[in-house]
């Protein structure tokens, strides 16, 4: 790695590690696991840096590594990390408390999904990727993404019956 690469890489990490960490945190639900995931994806990217001269490709590559690693990492492990629900809102307004309750329920329900399902939901509803893009990233068929997401949403509703009250806030 020559200084040019090194400087590019450094700049990339300074600019983007925050965003990568946020996605990793959503994928893992755990701060330390998130840091490890980002770190490991960056290490793998650094090793391939020479073949990634297109700066626009770098983030895509890191993220791809992250998503794959998350899914396979989970496959190798049976333990499921708890999602912290210790978070509390700072201001409480009209109807705000109810919304917060719903979100906490939602988080607990998310924690009960499989890593693959959770990853797809994060890509679809946090990263705002299309089903086609998700399929390409995870090397699966579009139909599979569509059905997995549909099933995950159903599972979220079922796992958290409280969500049926969601319409009242519409």
């Amino acid at each position: 790695m020559d200084p040019g690469f090194e400087a590019d890489f450094r700049e990339f990490v300074v600019d983007r590690s925050g965003a990568l960490f946020r996605t990793a945190y959503l994928l893992t639900g755990d701060r330390h696991a998130a840091e490890d995931l980002v770190q490991s994806a960056l290490a793998k990217t650094a090793a391939k840096w020479r073949s990634l001269r297109d700066p626009a490709a770098i983030e895509g590559y890191v993220r791809r590594v992250m998503y794959h690693e998350q899914v396979s990492w989970w496959r190798r492990r049976s333990r499921v990390a708890e999602v912290s629900t210790g978070w509390l809102p700072e201001q409480i307004g009209d109807g705000y408390a109810e919304m917060v309750d719903l979100r906490l329920v939602m988080r607990a329900a998310l924690a009960r999904l499989t890593p693959r399902q959770r990853t797809m939901l994060v890509l679809r509803y946090f990263e705002d990727l299309s089903e086609t893009e998700i399929a390409r990233l995870l090397d699966v068929r579009v139909g599979s993404v569509r059905s997995q997401i549909y099933r995950s949403l159903e599972r979220l509703k079922k796992a958290a019956p409280e969500l049926s009250t969601v319409r009242e806030f519409g």
Binding site: V13, G18, F21, A46, M99, M106, V166
Partner: protein, 319 residues
């Protein structure tokens, strides 16, 4: 709202509840792989200023990973040349409460506050003096601290206690307390009240005198300090409302005799010095008549005190 929108909002909330670690943390990827010469991925300073109410400033972030001389001089811009000297410094203001201090350490380091709370609860590991009775409040000494991305909450807090212990030694806290008939913890408690009440450090010795005079007064006299009530209620500010005065906490010095159970903030050296060596005078009252200009006036009799209260009300524009 449908479930998809709720999911979007939940994920967005979650994504922002944890502060990302400083980028420097991620530059340690190649540590230990010495076979590739000069590969250490040293980072330049990622300057982040997180001034929350101007109480804490982070001047720079960097990794501790060494950059090879070779690489630094071949140069890929100024930033690389700076790598060797950049570091993070935190300035913790005098008079912060422990909770505020932990909050700001958390903001500055990107670690959750809970980690600092856990570390703060382990008084023994932090090197607290025995008279602290295991509680960190009052002993997290204000000042500027250097922080590396790898410093743990326990290390940071222990550094603050070390600084306190040094300051306590310099001001001869333990013996000095004995000379004015107080325990070291009482002196630190007085110092914390002085710190919280003073708007100008030049008034500190006189405010300390008022506290000593009240504690020693015959017949007994209550301290009646708003700052202690507000601490007990975990409310900000130093002016208690009528309702606050009814607080049943042990920090309500309007209701209870003597000092509160412990320090109400982390005082700086001036306040500690004032508590040990108060000014000489008969004062029993003080009123900050003009908070904006930082004017505090002292009184010996109750009637003088009421005059000062009137002056305060006039300045505040209310009656």
């Amino acid at each position: 709202m449908n479930i998809e929108d709720l999911l979007r909002e939940t994920l967005s909330d979650m994504a922002h509840e944890e502060q990302p670690p400083p980028p420097g943390r991620f530059f340690q990827v190649n540590r230990g792989r010495s076979r590739r010469r000069g590969l250490a991925l040293a980072t330049a300073a990622a300057v982040a200023v997180m001034a929350v109410g101007s109480t804490l400033v982070v001047q720079g972030l960097s990794s501790q990973v060494a950059v090879s001389k070779d690489l630094a001089t071949r140069g890929s811009g100024e930033t690389l040349a700076e790598t060797e000297q950049v570091r993070t410094t935190l300035t913790v203001r005098e008079g912060l409460r422990l909770l505020q201090t932990l909050e700001q350490l958390s903001t500055a380091t990107g670690r959750p506050r809970a980690e600092f709370e856990r570390a703060a609860g382990n008084g023994k590991a932090l090197g607290l003096p025995a008279y602290a009775r295991g509680a960190l409040e009052g002993f997290a000494f204000p000042g500027t601290y250097e922080v590396s991305p790898t410093s743990s909450p326990g290390e940071l807090l222990a550094a603050m206690v070390t600084r306190f212990n040094r300051a306590a030694e310099a001001s001869d806290l333990v013996d000095g307390a004995g000379r004015v008939g107080r325990t070291p913890l009482e002196i630190l408690t007085i110092a914390s009240i002085v710190q919280a009440e003073a708007t100008d450090r030049r008034d500190m010795p006189k405010i300390a005198r008022v506290i000593h005079n009240r504690l020693n007064h015959k017949p007994e006299m209550r301290l009646s300090m708003d700052s202690t009530i507000m601490y007990g209620l975990n409310k900000s500010g130093v002016t208690a409302s009528d309702e606050d005065l009814g607080s049943r906490s042990p920090y309500n010095t309007y209701a209870r005799l003597g000092l509160p159970p412990g320090p109400i903030c982390n005082p700086g050296p001036d306040a500690i010095e004032a508590a040990l060596k108060p000014a000489t005078g008969p004062w029993l009252y003080f009123v900050t008549t003009d908070r904006e200009k930082g004017v505090t006036k002292f009184a010996t009799s109750e009637s003088e005190f009421f005059e000062l209260v009137e002056e305060f009300k006039r300045n505040r524009g209310t009656d």
